[in-house]
């Protein structure tokens, strides 16, 4: 969604231009650090960032068919942040926007600041902050990188839509009520965000599988090389066993009986404990704490109601669903009803999330099994 000239008024355009210029200046310095290889890094920045920008430009042209003729494409902010780091990400997306504005007239010249602030800075920063936080919380591993990039991309797109609404509130030139703009923008962009999230997660997963060292967001995760000595008599059959054993112990499967005890594979947090604690917290929050949550409508609904804006607003399509308005239909006690709806909500979310996990895991374990068979 490239904003054209005249959509946002001049003062806000200038202000966002200043913000964008400052952010690009900071990113130039940060990108030098991120892309630094063996040398000082200054001379690596331009070719690498330039090629990454070209990649983003090209990947935005890759069409992902949705259904019956419609298709979408990647926006790339979250992807860039995870693959090459936040500073380089901001820089590359900004350069892409600049070139699109100057060359292809896609997005106005005076709206360049708005476009960069919205699509380069907000998307990238939100995505990367979320990604980093999730990677810290989740157990180490390739799968949590994929999950974290899914969530990061999912949130980054509606966040950009929200930021756009904020800019629109400050300097919009059309007289559309803010509630409507917000609902329309965020509503549409949640859908776009789901597509973006799936594609980003799949792409990051594909890169992590082949070149994990290239993924900036996964840099802390590579384990240092371990040297192990395994007493093997037969060299021919042994080679395969050694690799399998190494691989298995890396994934903390039962240690092979033969050979001296290898070095402990580092302290690993138990996934199950984290998982159970998370579920318990979510259930307590949803079921218990929602007793005391405010029954008043949230800010926007309230504003809309006070101003009489929502008089014409259509009711939500799911109004008649048994869980509408965060309550269970046929239960009288409002507190019990709210709590129950919360618990059901957590359960549903959990079911969907677990479903995704199971699918991913099944595919992966199938792959490992094949590999094991192959090596024997």
């Amino acid at each position: 969604m490239h904003v054209p000239d005249g959509f946002i008024n001049a003062p806000v355009s200038v202000a966002t231009g200043v913000v964008a210029a400052a952010a690009v200046a900071v990113s130039l310095r940060g990108a030098r650090r991120e892309l630094a290889g063996a040398g000082s890094g200054a001379e690596r920045t331009a070719p690498l960032a330039g090629l990454v920008a070209a990649f983003i430009f090209a990947v935005q042209m890759l069409n992902f068919p949705v259904a019956a003729g419609t298709s979408g494409h990647l926006l790339g902010g979250a992807l860039a942040a995870i693959l090459v780091g936040p500073y380089t990400g901001v820089l590359c997306v900004s350069v892409v926007l600049l070139m699109q504005g100057v060359l292809f007239a896609d997005g106005g010249l005076t709206a360049l600041g708005v476009n960069i602030t919205d699509m380069a800075i907000v998307t990238t920063v939100v995505a990367y902050a979320l990604f980093r936080g999730l990677v810290k919380v989740l157990p180490r591993g390739r799968r949590s990188i994929t999950v974290a990039s899914f969530v990061a991309a999912l949130v980054s797109v509606p966040a950009a839509a929200g930021a756009f609404t904020g800019l629109y509130v400050l300097g919009g030139t059309a007289d559309v009520s803010i509630g409507k703009v917000f609902t329309a923008m965020v509503g549409v962009h949640v859908l776009i965000g789901i597509g973006e999230a799936v594609i980003t997660a799949l792409t990051v997963g594909a890169v992590v599988a082949v070149r994990p060292d290239l993924v900036y967001g996964a840099r802390g995760l590579t384990q240092p090389l371990e040297l192990r000595t395994v007493q093997v008599a037969v060299p021919g059959a042994g080679a395969g066993e050694v690799t399998t054993a190494a691989r298995e112990s890396a994934e903390s499967a039962p240690e092979p009986a033969s050979g001296p005890a290898p070095a402990a594979p580092g302290p690993r947090r138990s996934t199950r404990r984290v998982w159970l604690a998370g579920v318990a917290t979510a259930l307590v929050c949803a079921g218990g704490v929602s007793y005391y949550a405010s029954a008043d409508p949230d800010g926007l609904e309230k504003v809309a109601h006070d101003q009489g804006i929502d008089a014409k607003a259509k009711d939500h399509a799911a109004k008649d669903s048994p869980l509408a308005d965060y309550g269970v239909k046929d239960i009288g006690d409002p507190r019990l009803s709210g709590g129950l709806a919360g618990v059901i909500g957590v359960g549903a979310t959990l079911a969907v999330g677990t479903g995704v996990f199971v699918v991913v895991r099944r595919r992966k374990s199938a792959g490992t099994a094949e590999r094991a068979v192959g090596s024997v």
Partner: protein, 253 residues
């Protein structure tokens, strides 16, 4: 550069507009758009005059109207948004051909359409009369950080290479009988995108090494330093100054 090297948006020519130094043109276009954006939307005639100014500039650059109009199509998504606006905006309603439309919404739609179209037309004219390399040099002359200019020039130079790489991968997929039909096939497309990233990044590393081996230290030597004379600046300023006069008239009348 010959025909094969220039980008598709550029239209080779020898008009006075083509001959202007790039940074004068960029500054002129930017000022013009800024003036257009700050014009009050009620001054409908002012936007007509702006359109005449752009048409005059296009005439001086010998860019045919068809070329310009075809390139304006990029704006279509926002036109759709502008068309929606009179239906959803607040305020007093007016009846137009039996439809109840919001008055301020109509003004908003007009505002976006007029300013957006003029902005796009000005940018298209700039891209049509300025070579890519010159455009980047012009941005550098206008004190854009050299590092940013370098990144942009790498992006432009290798954009076609990377796009071709993507096209080759698409042909490879097609020739193996794959056709993406729906969400189920996203995994394969995403793997291609991942491969594209790896190939781009590795190409970047190779390009960097090749440049270092030729003596690159982080800055590009400026070979042809274009400077603008006072006369050229004046000629380039004709468009924004005329627009400014229209804008001032629009505010006072």
């Amino acid at each position: 550069m010959g025909a094969g090297h220039s980008h598709k948006l550029y239209r080779h020519g020898h008009s006075p507009v083509h001959a202007l130094p790039p940074h004068c043109k960029i500054a002129a276009v930017f000022c013009f758009v800024l003036v257009v954006v700050s014009t009050p939307r009620e001054a409908v005639w002012a936007f007509g005059l702006y359109a005449v100014l752009i048409a005059a500039a296009a005439g001086a650059a010998r860019v045919p109207a068809g070329f310009l109009l075809k390139r304006l199509l990029i704006e279509v998504p926002f036109v759709a948004f502008a068309v929606l606006m009179p239906f959803v905006a607040e305020g007093p309603r007016v009846d137009v051909i039996g439809l109840s439309l919001s008055e301020s919404g109509l003004w908003g739609a007009w505002n976006i359409l007029a300013k957006g179209t003029l902005g796009v037309a000005a940018s298209v004219l700039l891209a049509a009369t300025t070579e890519l390399r010159e455009l980047l040099l012009g941005l550098q002359r206008l004190r854009m950080p050299p590092q940013l200019v370098q990144i942009a020039s790498f992006m432009i130079r290798y954009g076609d290479v990377i796009t071709d790489e993507m096209r080759r991968m698409r042909i490879a997929r097609l020739s193996r009988g794959f056709e993406a039909r729906g969400v189920r096939h996203w995994g394969i497309l995403a793997k291609s995108a991942g491969a594209l990233f790896i190939r781009s990044y590795e190409r970047g590393e190779r390009v960097h090494l090749a440049m270092v081996s030729r003596g690159y230290t982080g800055t590009m030597p400026v070979i042809a330093d274009t400077t603008a004379t006072r006369a050229q600046w004046t000629r380039a300023a004709a468009l924004p100054v005329a627009a400014l006069a229209v804008c001032l008239l629009g505010w006072t009348l």
